[in-house]
């Protein structure tokens, strides 16, 4: 199985290259350590099982992000049906340190999914609107609209000014 290459990278290289991105996506969507880890693992399991052909590393990264978002959505949908509130409280919740006052990650996780994804992809992964549209399956214009509204909502949450 080590012979399989993903855009010229072995599975181990893929994991070491993109574990930070995938983990961030998972934590952004699911602030639960166990479930986030499951989504993280499932993303790479999908990669290993599907073994799709990638044109480039950017294509590989976009594919991993898309799969991670889907896994998180599936996990939340599953938890909505099966997990009780008491179980959620008992589970280990990922918290964000508040030593950096400019870190507004806590506000980002409070946004709706549609704004949160585009904002994360735009400002953390530095994708443009076209690339974000390809990843999340929306038009670039829609992505731009979501970005604009998302920033406004984010500001309303953390109470910031015009600076990013």
């Amino acid at each position: 199985m080590a012979d399989i290459l993903y855009a010229g990278l072995s599975f181990e290289q893929v994991v070491k290259s993109y574990y930070q991105t995938i983990a961030s996506v998972c934590v952004l969507h699911i602030q639960n350590d166990t479930d986030a880890q499951d989504c993280f693992q499932n993303t790479f399991v999908k990669l290993f099982e599907k073994s799709p052909e990638f044109k480039s590393e950017s294509h590989l990264k976009a594919w991993l992000i898309r799969v991670a978002i889907n896994e998180c959505n599936n996990m939340r949908r599953k938890n909505r049906r099966t997990v009780s509130l008491s179980q959620v409280v008992e589970n280990s919740v990922i918290t964000f340190p508040d030593n950096d006052k400019d870190d507004i990650s806590w506000a980002l996780v409070k946004l709706d999914d549609k704004y949160r994804d585009v904002l994360y992809l735009r400002y953390c992964e530095e994708y443009n609107a076209n690339e974000i549209g390809k990843i999340i399956g929306k038009n670039p214009s829609t992505v731009r609209t979501l970005l604009k509204r998302g920033k406004e909502k984010l500001k309303s949450i953390y109470g910031g000014g015009s600076d990013e």
């Binding site: 199985m1 080590a2 599975f11 181990e12 994991v15 070491k16 574990y19 930070q20 983990a23 961030s24 934590v27 952004l28 880890q37 993280f40 693992q41 790479f44 399991v45 290993f48 099982e49 964000f96 340190p97 950096d100 006052k101 400019d102 870190d103 507004i104 990650s105 806590w106 980002l108 996780v109 994360y120 400002y123 953390c124 953390y158 910031g160 600076d163 990013e164």
Partner: protein, 319 residues
């Protein structure tokens, strides 16, 4: 101006076990080789159940089909009549051969003992016609010295089975077993059969009265002897219940009544004679009512006893 950031998210410190688990995915997957049919286990289980049900259904169908073959078809070449009495619940094949001797012995109704008191004799003497006839006369009418036209013992072969007489109607009789050393038929006795409409009363007490179907009353040489015209039964006078009247109804194999629904109409009226405490009843077979080959049950009754005697006969109206 401080720039806002998402460092906590983008620089999330990934636990080492997450990375280790992800790196171990290929080795784990190699260990877990896919087991055939596991992925679609439910589908395969459903298909297997369906196939099993189909096989069992086919098996039952063929088994039932074999069991449901009509007796006529099974014995088409060897038997043309069967008689079953409800009291003994025994199926008696009255004819089972191509030669005269065997047919005579098969018609020998001395081995047919429908009554409960004679049930043991059935088992001891043998019911099937293929059994060697006994020399011991059993049936009551056989001892009649005056020659009853219908039930007088006759050693002649009453039925001469031929190839064109296959599937003929039943001709169960109360004839005694034919002696193997005397298979010659007697002409005078066959001529006496024509006088059945006014049967004489047996002078001696019958030993074992039993229901029977009369043989054709005409000369066997001039008429097909295998078509019964009457059904005869004999039973104790006590069964009448004080009512000196007797009727007979015909039920097909499904229990449907044949003929008039008024069970006490003239159509159901049976004739009877009394002798030595025994009733000899006769009921004609109306072949215009018999539309198909089947087992027909003749139930003799009256207002005091709804089931005096029962006789099951296989009739083939085609012939």
């Amino acid at each position: 101006m401080n720039k806002k950031n998402f460092n906590s998210i983008s620089q999330f410190s990934v636990p080492q076990n997450w990375i280790d688990d992800a790196l171990s995915i290929p080795s784990d997957r190699d260990k877990k080789k896919p087991i055939p049919f596991v992925k679609f286990s439910r589908t395969f289980a459903a298909v297997a159940c369906l196939v099993l049900v189909c096989c069992v259904s086919l098996l039952l169908f063929f088994m039932t089909d074999d069991g449901a073959k009509p007796p006529v078809k099974e014995t088409q070449n060897t038997s043309f009549s069967d008689v079953v009495t409800e009291e003994t619940s025994d199926l008696v094949s009255l004819q089972n051969s191509d030669n005269t001797e065997e047919s005579t012995s098969s018609i020998d109704s001395s081995n047919i003992e429908p009554t409960e008191e004679n049930y043991g004799d059935n088992s001891s003497q043998g019911i099937k016609p293929s059994v060697k006839p006994t020399t011991k006369p059993v049936v009551g009418p056989t001892v009649k010295p005056t020659g009853d036209s219908t039930i007088e013992p006759s050693e002649k072969p009453v039925i001469k089975p031929t190839e064109d007489t296959e599937d003929k109607p039943v001709i169960p009789t109360t004839r005694p077993p034919m002696k193997p050393n005397d298979p010659q038929p007697s002409e005078d006795e066959s001529s006496e059969d024509s006088s059945y409409e006014d049967p004489e009363i047996p002078t001696s007490k019958p030993i074992n009265p039993q229901p029977s179907v009369d043989v054709p009353s005409e000369d066997p040489s001039s008429e097909d002897p295998q078509i019964p015209t009457d059904v005869n039964v004999s039973f104790s006078v006590d069964k009448l219940g004080g009512k000196f009247e007797i009727y007979c109804k015909i039920l097909d194999s499904r229990g449907n009544l044949i003929g008039d629904t008024d069970l006490y109409s003239r159509e159901h009226n049976a004739s009877m004679n009394i002798s030595n405490g025994m009733i000899y009843a006769k009921y004609p077979i109306y072949y215009n009512l018999i539309t198909k080959s089947d087992y027909y049950t003749f139930v003799f009754y009256n207002s005091a006893n709804p089931k005096i005697e029962t006789l099951m006969v296989f009739l083939n109206p085609i012939n």
